[in-house]
């Protein structure tokens, strides 16, 4: 991976797993030996309001926040948040909207966050083993298989869209 810092913003509503998804990405990048910073505001997030979380990784990360209009990737879990947050992307940045993955095929609705991580993984130079380890570290054992399936589903969905 080059020394350039990769900027990812996750967006959605409280309770959708926005922060969990950003935790998994941050951990996967950390396991890959990169410098990582992750920032979010989660004081009110439990009450169903908008939540965003920034993850930045590379050889050396300074500020923990992705400057507005400079996100390389924007992962959005709630349809209502796409319009609101798309200005955070840089020109040419990639949007991962919630309908990227067929909801009917998801192992359960709550795994959309991990499915979209699978789609994002197609664009990032992070080895599969780091993703798997990060997913397993973030979730209880009974959810591992289900979420790994969701991850693969998202990865394949991204491929179809290309």
């Amino acid at each position: 991976m080059s020394s350039r810092v990769v900027n990812v913003v996750f967006a959605g509503l409280g309770g959708q797993g926005v922060i969990k998804a950003s935790d998994i990405l941050a951990d996967a990048a950390f396991r890959a030996g990169l410098d990582v910073k992750k920032a979010e505001v989660h004081g009110m997030s439990q009450r169903g309001g908008s939540v965003t979380s920034d993850v930045r990784f590379g050889a050396k990360v300074l500020s923990p926040m992705v400057p507005p209009g400079e996100a390389d990737y924007l992962v959005v879990l709630a349809p209502s948040e796409v319009e609101v947050t798309k200005g955070l992307l840089r020109p040419g940045g990639v949007l991962f909207p919630p309908d990227l993955v067929d909801e009917a095929k998801l192992p359960n609705a709550r795994s959309l966050n991990v499915a979209l991580l699978g789609a994002l993984a197609r664009h990032l130079d992070l080895a599969e083993e780091h993703w798997t380890a990060a997913i397993r570290a973030a979730l209880p054992e009974r959810l591992h298989e289900l979420n790994e399936r969701a991850f693969r589903l998202g990865r394949d969905a991204a491929l179809e869209r290309r």
Partner: protein
Amino acid sequence: MERRLLSGDEAVAAAALDGGVHLGTGYPGTPSTEILEAFSALGGRAQWAPNEKVALEVSLGAAFGGARAIVTMKHVGLNVAADPLFTAAYTGVSGALVVVAADDPGMASSQNEQDSRRYAIAAGLPMLEPSDSQDAYDLALAALDLSHRWQLPVLLRMTTRVCHSKSIVARSARSAPAPVPPFARDIAGRVMIPAYARPAHRRLRKKLESLAAWSETAPLTVKREGSAALGVVASGVAARHAAEAAPEASLLELKLTHPLPLEKIRAFAASVKRCVVIEEGDPILADALRAAGIPVEAKPEPFRFGELNVDRVRRIVAKDLSPEPEPPKGKPPQLCEACPYHPVYGTLRKLDCIVAGDIGCYTLGVLPPYQGMDTCVAMGASLGVGLGLRHVLPEQDARRVVSIIGDSTFVHTGVNGLVEMVYNPPPTGHVLIILDNGTTAMTGQQEHPGTGRTLAHDATGKLSIEGLARALGVPNVDVIDPIQDPAGFEKLLAGRLARSELSVIVARRPCILAAADIRKYEKANAAKASACAACAEAENV
């Protein structure tokens, strides 16, 4: 050395453990709450106090006794703790005392964006400002050492982005809490009657003088060599933004922001053509430097408001005052769908009440559809503000005034207001509704004295809210479940409003988010209690 991704809060907790802290105290408050929870989870001794003042006093007592103590709170909590804080600067400490204050620039979840750095100046206490999680770890350890060395409480100023951002932390070796020495009496040092306080004030200023001299060579200033055309002086997370926004600039990052290493900064400013101060919140560094005759540029006024980020720092450096882009306007938070307070707000609206509100989840009742709150100022203020309205409003309006407060907020500082209600009752009486959902819900479901469980959810003494109200002499005290009996709640409130008497209504129903956990804790504690009873019986045989 173990390296892990930690939040700033977790990093402070790890430092407390590794730095041999005997006791951590605090009151929950975003973004500081996770520090004590993480310290407890790591095996440290941590406890919630009813409020920040008590928390600071318990930690101060521990530090008088020779222990190392840490006390955590959000910025507005420091206002509550300010009374003992100012005089603790005079008394100093024997062990160590670190006061963590977490500011919330931009008010992600606070009622104001006051700048805690003012407290360091006002009280005359050293202050350290971390910029990321590694800094939070290193500076929390440094604060413990500084506190012990100078026998002074030390302020550790965090901000939302430092508390809640995660970055990589390498921990050093752990030192276990040292045995606490026997009590050493120091009456003149710790009893602040005027005769002892006068020399204590002089001692404090001497300590600060020697700290300032020490700071000139201390490793608490980090310099990045860069261009001679532009120099940046920065602290906290703003220093990280500045390093990115002005990669060519010479950068002087201050970790100790009170007292300031003025000569070091003077030399830095002299070494560059233009020197800009990048700081979040009030222009405190810039004012202090300019007062010392150091030619620096302060940020323009619009950047006093809200958080800084890389983009805003670029604007400050470029003197760009063009309109800033609006941040995304997302969906605001709201009362949970199954929140037990819905019928309460429905009733308040139906009865056309004037509502003196308080701070917690239930403050969200101010939003549509209820718009069910007329004032919200500070923790516990619903009582006093409601009483003040009752005292002066025309009678037909006075009779509509209700104070509402959550259970944790009531224990925090609502109790004092209830005493006032009994002592100075308005002619029309007053009605206080205590919304008791059995947890400190807003900050993430922490325990408090009214839950009867400790920070780690073990059984302990339980404050009876209705028992306290009765003991204080409130004539009408009722407990009702607003979900189970919404009609009964409405009838009760309407009836109490019609009387010119003092009434407390405890609307009790567990928080929907906490209910399952509360049942789990209760079950575990009941099992423990019966195991203990069996043990005691066996011993008695």
